[in-house]
């Protein structure tokens, strides 16, 4: 009996190991992919990003992508992804394990600004190419790693989202005399509100902040905050809430008429516009942290990405998926340009690189060629005649209009009256 159980256990262990371990060949490029696979950010962000990583990596390996990415692999080498959960109390230790034990050639990942703040210095210390694909705080290259070599960010910062949001309000003629904010109490929320309120100060003739609310991330209950917003009667309410927090805010705020009384701006609202189409009142201003999702310009790459994603996962890709695709295509463009997937070659090629993603052109224009800028867009939520969610009055902003020039800190640029902006 004991012998039988031992055989069964051994067989199970071997079978499990066989199923779980993907084969890695000598000239494979191991790439760590880090997103939220558990916790509150997994559903709206981490899993769509991981899905996009699976889709794009498979397509890169097979050479199935539209031109100019229709050659297989990274300079001919197959990508072997190693997926890691960002929802960890020991992010730096997980990163070290990826580099030192798993031996990854590069890491693509990190959604949370808090994660990026701790990983960027770690990447420089361990000298491993790390591509931050989503997090938004401008602090990464303005305050934390001011002379990056190994760290890149292929997504624009929160400054772009919030300058564009303020410009959109002005361009659509919204009253912004009384403004309020409800943002999460960490780097992302604080930086977003700082940039938005500072931008409005520059753009609007007279604006007054009537209340600033900073509930903790994942709070879920916003009854008191919504009452505070209602009692202060703002004309504009700004929120950079994302994921479950944003969805809870929409449900609770909409039920209490907040969205009818004030013009609500959701800078990361795109991830919920389909699932909460009946709760988001028409007139809500929606952003996608770049020209992603419904705001993406038409192109062969975008058409392929949307169709392939929907066919494989059964839903439309939202902006975290777009941003992951953007990062991986940036890596491919750099490796193909360098003719090598070795770290130093990819770093050299990626600095200052321009490439086309599913959301249009991306330029590594800031932080010595390590920080991306791109065009962006905002729209106003409207239910189409068939009851589906749509964005109308879409306004596109040139990258040079909503991002600071190289060498200038975001807040200083805003306070200078957007000195040098292409749309001034």
């Amino acid at each position: 009996m004991r012998k039988i159980s031992r055989i069964l256990m051994t067989t199970t262990a071997v079978a499990t190991a066989t199923i779980c371990a993907a084969p890695v060949f000598a000239d494979d490029v191991k790439v760590g992919v880090v997103t939220f696979l558990s916790g509150g950010a997994a559903g709206p962000f981490g899993v769509p990003a991981r899905n996009a990583a699976e889709l794009v990596i498979d397509a890169i390996n097979k050479g199935d992508l539209p031109a100019p990415y229709n050659t297989a692999g990274l300079a001919g080498n197959t990508i072997a992804p190693v997926y890691v959960d960002e929802n960890s109390k020991q992010k730096n230790a997980d990163f070290q394990k990826l580099v030192e034990k798993d031996g990854v050639e590069m890491v693509v990942g990190y959604i949370s600004s808090s994660s990026c703040k701790s990983i960027a210095p770690e990447a420089e210390k361990l000298k491993r190419l790390t591509i931050l694909f989503d997090c938004g705080t401008p602090q990464i290259f303005e305050d934390i790693v001011t002379e990056p070599h190994y760290t890149f960010r292929t997504a624009a910062t929160a400054t772009m989202d919030n300058v564009a949001a303020a410009r959109y309000l002005m361009d659509t003629g919204a009253d912004a005399g009384r403004v309020a904010g409800i943002n999460q109490n960490y780097a992302w929320g604080q930086d977003s509100w700082r940039d938005f309120s500072a931008s409005l100060e520059q753009l609007a003739e007279a604006t007054e902040v009537v209340t600033e609310q900073f509930p903790k991330v994942y709070a879920g209950q916003y009854g008191s905050e919504i009452s505070a917003l209602l009692t202060n009667r703002p004309e504009v309410v700004h929120s950079s809430f994302w994921g479950g927090d944003m969805e809870a805010f929409v449900i609770q705020g909409s039920a209490r008429g907040l969205f009818e009384r004030s013009k609500v701006v959701l800078t990361a609202g795109e991830t919920a516009m389909f699932s909460l189409a009946k709760q988001i009142p028409e007139g809500t201003v929606i952003g996608a942290r770049g020209p992603h999702g419904d705001l993406a310009p038409e192109s062969d790459l975008n058409t392929w990405f949307r169709a392939a994603y929907k066919e494989r996962f059964g839903s439309e890709p939202t902006y975290p998926s777009y941003k992951m695709a953007q990062a991986l295509l940036g890596v491919k463009a750099a490796a193909d340009k360098a003719g090598s997937s070795l770290q130093d070659d990819v770093i050299g090629a990626l600095e200052g690189l321009e490439w086309e993603g599913p959301s249009g052109k991306v330029s590594m224009a800031l932080a010595g060629g390590h920080q991306a800028i791109q065009d962006t867009a905002y729209g106003t939520f409207k239910l189409a005649e068939d009851g589906s969610a749509s964005l109308v009055d879409v306004i596109r902003y040139d990258a040079g209009c909503v991002n600071p020039p190289a060498g200038v800190k975001s807040l200083n640029w805003i306070k200078s009256g957007f000195d040098g902006a292409t749309c001034n």
Binding site: S224, T231, E247, Q252
Partner: protein, 298 residues
């Protein structure tokens, strides 16, 4: 004046939610001396089951009224099934062990429950907003509040009242109070303490699940919501005195009003205010406001 009214209503609403989310935790601690970290898992299970059940029902196109029945039914199923599995499957083998060890055991159970919810419902968010919208809004001094918020306040009062009545006016409740007072003497008197442990754990688990199930229509149910509630529930029962039902009521009210006041008067101190109140209470009453006096045992 408007701010004062808003603080009062918001504080009461938040306190009701806190009480529903923490009363099961304090009940289990009072009877079993187990700080049940898995309580967060029951809350999450209740929320998922409720959101899922309401979602399925609403797809049938029937009136929303029946969805209000789905909430307690799902909470009961989630609480009883998960509570029974944990109490009978794990905890009963560990009664009498050190309290710290039991914290670790229930933490392990919490992690398992988190994974179970992910296995069943995946990582997508679930929204079941229909009941939260169905009762419309009630204007108080020009501020609209959802009728659903008052329903939660009513359910919290009902639960508190039923628990009080059950403990003080029924034979089982009186025996339970004896167990809370002294487990060893209860056993010596012939009370089947193990049976009371099972019943208490099931009631506590169901109350935890009810907290989640009632909250589900107001929020987006996402992975990780159980971890958030356990910290807040712990603050409530520490303020009130661990194991005390009146303590949970007072603790929830103190935290609810402190947070609402902070949000309206000085928002940056919103989170700090809760722990400031907790520290202030513990500085004066180290075992909480309603902690039971314990005789020294030789």
């Amino acid at each position: 004046m408007l701010t004062a009214i808003a603080i009062a209503v918001d504080g009461l609403g938040f306190a009701a939610w806190l009480f529903l989310s923490s009363v099961g935790l304090t009940l289990i601690y009072g009877v079993m001396r187990i700080l049940n970290i898995a309580h967060g898992g029951f809350y999450a299970l209740g929320a998922y089951a409720s959101a899922w059940g309401i979602g399925l029902y609403m797809q049938t196109g029937n009136p929303v009224g029946f969805a209000f029945l789905i909430i307690p039914v799902m909470a009961l199923i989630a609480g009883v099934v998960a509570g029974l599995a944990i109490e009978r499957g794990v905890l009963r083998f560990m009664y009498g062990r050190d309290e710290v060890l039991m914290v670790l055991v229930t933490y392990a159970m919490f992690l398992i429950l988190e994974d179970v919810t992910k296995l069943i419902w995946g990582t997508d968010s679930y929204v079941a907003w229909q009941p939260a919208y169905a009762l419309g809004t009630i204007d108080i001094a020009g501020i609209p509040y959802t009728g659903y918020k008052f329903l939660i306040i009513g359910v919290a009062m009902l639960c508190g009242g039923l628990l009080y009545w059950g403990l003080t006016h029924t034979r089982v409740g009186k025996l339970l109070l004896v167990v809370i007072e002294d487990r060893e003497v209860s056993m010596a008197l012939g009370i089947n303490v193990t049976k009371f442990f099972t019943i208490t754990f099931l009631i506590g688990a169901t109350l935890g699940a009810l907290g989640g199930a009632l909250t589900a229509p107001e929020i987006s149910v996402v992975p990780g919501i159980g971890a958030e509630i356990i910290v807040m529930a712990f603050a409530v029962i520490v303020i009130g005195g661990m194991g005390s039902i009146p303590g949970a009521i007072i603790g929830a009210l103190i935290v609810g009003f402190a947070r609402a006041a902070s949000v309206h008067i000085y928002p940056p101190a919103e989170l700090f205010s809760i722990y400031l109140v907790m520290a202030a209470v513990l500085a004066v009453k180290p075992y909480g406001l309603f902690a039971l006096a314990e005789g020294r045992k030789i």
